[in-house]
Symmetry: D3
Subunit: 241 residues, 6 copies
């Protein structure tokens, strides 16, 4: 998996930042990959929803009163803190919170640190706390909602950098997560380059089709495009190249 | 029903665009009609939520892997495409998606075509895909959410222009749907003119009451209005006429 | 309880308006109080979410067709109307709607009156109707959503100023409710002053920590702060005093 | 209401024990009363589901850690204990638990006492604890499920003999609750005698129709019965009288 | 589709009655067909859950007060009645009720008629009413629950013998439904014979494996079977043939 | 933790098999431990619900089509198979299935092997498949339901013997799970002996109280017991010792 992940070049990330999660979903579906879009997870701020980067995972299990006390929270080896300190530039921190939105998985101080470390997004199927302050940090954040209680109200950070579930999707460390206004999609590590290229091609064609439809063309013959329309597109494309 | 629908004049639509779904709900409730407000359906863009027009229906059932493949999607007789090509100016396309929000019932290309055909809104209890691009088209859209997967991930368009369910409400073709920030309400075809007129009257009175309350009047005597207050209102109304 | 409530001074309310519900949740959690944050309740307008004030309660039970008719709604002794007319300046009206969002617990006329009476917020686990008009009144409103049907569609106002449930939280008249973008938290009447002071202290320290982290400090040693960092903070705090 | 309640004679209760909740629902629906069947509430033991009797209500709100401690539970004036000690022979205890099933509203010791006091059923939209032992007491019990945690885990008994909500239904003290395998229906106090008589008549006719259909008659002409079939029924009925 | 359906011989039905829905699910999964098991639908009586037969569909949409009155229910052309009168021996009646369990889709009189007509099961994602009486008819019934209110409380029968959704599964008339204690699975019409044969083979092998494991064999080598174990099985199978 | 687990003697297990999960919940609540009862998990067969034993954990994440194929299922190192082969006599296998009930976490063949290995129960917040056959094995099984699809329809077994979440409860390997008709409770490893003893004492007292109440005593003075009643109990207890 490390080899695959290393293949995720800045160019690929740059391409992924130009295509929609809808297009990526179509490309994955064509390859038989369907269980990749997170349900119940959306952008905290839809004007700052877009991101792409490799997943770094953090797993929470339910809290229990004998183990999860405000005191224990100060442990410097607390997996939540260590995971954040291990983030690299460009990473996306994804937190498996079992869809439990009764407390926040993190707040604005940790988000500030995540940003400073160069991570590009936080994704969780739990809630975040102090959502207004998190939005103000400018870090794209996709979550199941907002909730004021601190994480130990219902969560116990247990381990990181292992495969997790988030929003009904398996996320393996090194998979690439992409977000936009629709939410978050997970691209399996080995397919990232292929999907990025195909998605870019698809959007180029769809942009051409959209223009045609905006000018009055019927869906029949345009979407999907007839051989004739596709030939016109290919010719135009060739001229631009 | 065609006769009733033909009775929905531009004046009536124009009146409906000036009243709230809350007022329409009150008028329908007074006539014993209660099961008309869609649950779990809301505007994609609350600053562009308002619309009114006759319903054109499209029904989805669950997808099945042997029938719903990307290839089959290109069929020019696909009910989704035909339904859209059959839309008339002023129509509202309502899609029965069984409340399933795991994929988008349509995306921005189809929305562009819907807009070009002159339809005034899309309503669904499913999700839409590429929500940012749909918002950018400017077409009022009320949905259950946003989701990147393409419709065949979970839907199969099966037929159109038949009675459907949407958001827990029966919608018969020709019923008039009205939307605002609260969501979408369905007015039975035969009641549209009566409801529009009564709603307009109600809002005129309520506007008078609101002014009175904003100036310090107690609810007691104002809302509902006492005979005295109502007489003042009627007199003022008569002067304005 | 009256004595305790009278201890909620304007200074305390003023302090509570400067701290987040997240910080208040932490302080209550430290004292063993956890069941205080409302689930499924959020601001209608996140740019106008902040408020603090003592709770005045109103309880709804389900409507029944023989009792809940548009006519009965005009009763001047209707508990909904009386409760609103009994509101004092600074109060927060909290409506126990059993989490039922199929109709609106109130609309813009009543909200206008609530505002005129000087109440500072409306909180409910039900929906509100005519949400756009309610937002326009400027009164901070936290609800479970928006719905056009009038309250008697599903609710019957039964009594007020008794302990109620809202969003899974017990609210006793006189408890202090605080809202921000995360939602609404309930501070038991007897703890309000203590919590306000402690929350203010905590935010002062966290602001110091956030600055430190924004400047590049690691979480380890900063959050929670090491004895050294805390000493620096205390020294700085002392200088400012 | 006391007068109405006193009109619920043993004969009426005896009649109600012979008819189904389905038939009662039909009779109430014909009179425009629809919001009367509890959703999410069912018999703990479907072979011991049947009961009928006037409602005695008990209301729970959420627990809060400062108020709901094992110690406080011993208060002899605890509303849960007092409510049970106030039960009369033939009563049905209905507990409004807000549909919260994370703890049990009562267990087998209280159920034993309820039985000794002569109550005929317990109904709640919460859970019960020690469900096996409760079933063994033989008291018909309809609940939202079973859960081991004690009531103060999530509940605080606050008052009794006031109108409550249970399973989405308003229950006023003195309304008559009837249960069978389908669940629990609430008959408004003033309609009990009328509904009992009409339901008995309906079942008599339906029994005749069922025999006819079991012998091969088509639905058309039988259900609803044609004038001819109804005449045969009336004649047979007259002979039996 | 008629041709395919005619290929569902009594032998195939007989075979399907001997295999579990779990085995059928495995065989369909191997052929890439996954969206076939109904969610939220289970046997009313787990000791009478087993059935197999071709689907006859009936579609409900939400009721509306102006259209769905007790009087209209007597219409001899009511689709619910006509659909039942059109059932043939061996059919399974499947009712699309949108998962709405607030009323019963049918009761014991209709079930009696369904049985007399020779249908072998009723399947719905709604509720049934008078569940005790339905169980007593002996007709295998799979539903989403039990509810006393009559169907027009929330449903309007609109059409039959068209493709429908039930429990999240597309059911096309002529598909074969099979039920057991786990619930109901739908076999596409064109695959019925193939799936029945393959499922029978699979269960024969699994029975052999289960015996081996019950006698102490490890999973490793047994499940899935090693080439050696499979050879022993094939030899034994050959001897029995 | 191994040391603590080794302290779970057969005598303790034997005691736990005599007390209810309700009593255990009370004892844990008195010690401040509340998040221990699984929500949405219940016995497949309520007449065979009782068990007690140390937890062995297995974690599932969502399936993904590229990784979870019927072929891969045959891998002898599949964590599901290895976990089962590692079970010891007396163990309880608990499977974290994220509450996803769209497929079965295991079926009757694996259950047969689990039984042969001497495990005493299976617990999961997912579904089981071929529930009838699993019940027939006689192994106490608590699950979220039954579903025919095979586990790879929605699950991927990823690791075992690590802390997991099940039914909203943290389960650490070595914690002791106890089940009865109410469902499943988790006792932290370090408290097992203490809780078993205290629960046994509590049930002894409650049995005495129940007898008293069954004979007509009021709750007031009996439950909780007055000093006088408790003295009588203590005396009787002493005589029996």
């Amino acid at each position: 998996m490390p080899d695959q992940a290393s293949a995720v070049t800045p160019d690929i990330i740059s391409t992924l930042l130009q295509v929609s999660t809808a297009t990526i979903a179509t490309q994955l579906h064509r390859r038989g990959i369907r269980a990749v879009f997170m349900v119940g997870v959306g952008p905290l701020d839809r004007s700052n929803a877009r991101f792409a980067g490799p997943a770094r995972t953090l797993r929470y299990i339910p809290a229990r009163e004998d183990l999860d006390t405000p005191e224990g929270y100060g442990d410097p080896l607390h997996p939540q803190r260590v995971a954040i300190e291990c983030l690299s530039r460009g990473d996306v921190l994804v937190i498996d919170a079992r869809g439990d939105r009764s407390s926040g998985v993190l707040g604005s101080i940790l988000t500030t640190r995540i940003r400073v470390r160069g991570a590009v997004a936080v994704v969780t199927d739990g809630a975040v706390r102090d959502a207004g302050a998190i939005r103000a940090t400018g870090l794209p954040t996709h979550a199941g909602g907002a909730a004021a209680p601190l994480s130990i109200h219902s969560h116990h950070a247990i381990d990181f950098d292992i495969p997790v579930a988030c929003g009904g999707v398996a996320v393996y460390p090194g998979d690439v997560l992409v977000g936009d206004e629709d939410g978050v999609i997970c691209i399996p590590a080995g397919l990232v380059g292929e999907i990025a290229a195909a998605a870019y091609e698809q959007e180029s064609l769809e942009s051409f089709i959209t223009t045609s439809i905006a000018e009055g063309a019927s869906l029949i013959g345009s979407y999907p495009p007839s051989p004739e329309l596709r030939a016109i597109y290919e010719a135009q494309r060739a001229r631009e190249a």
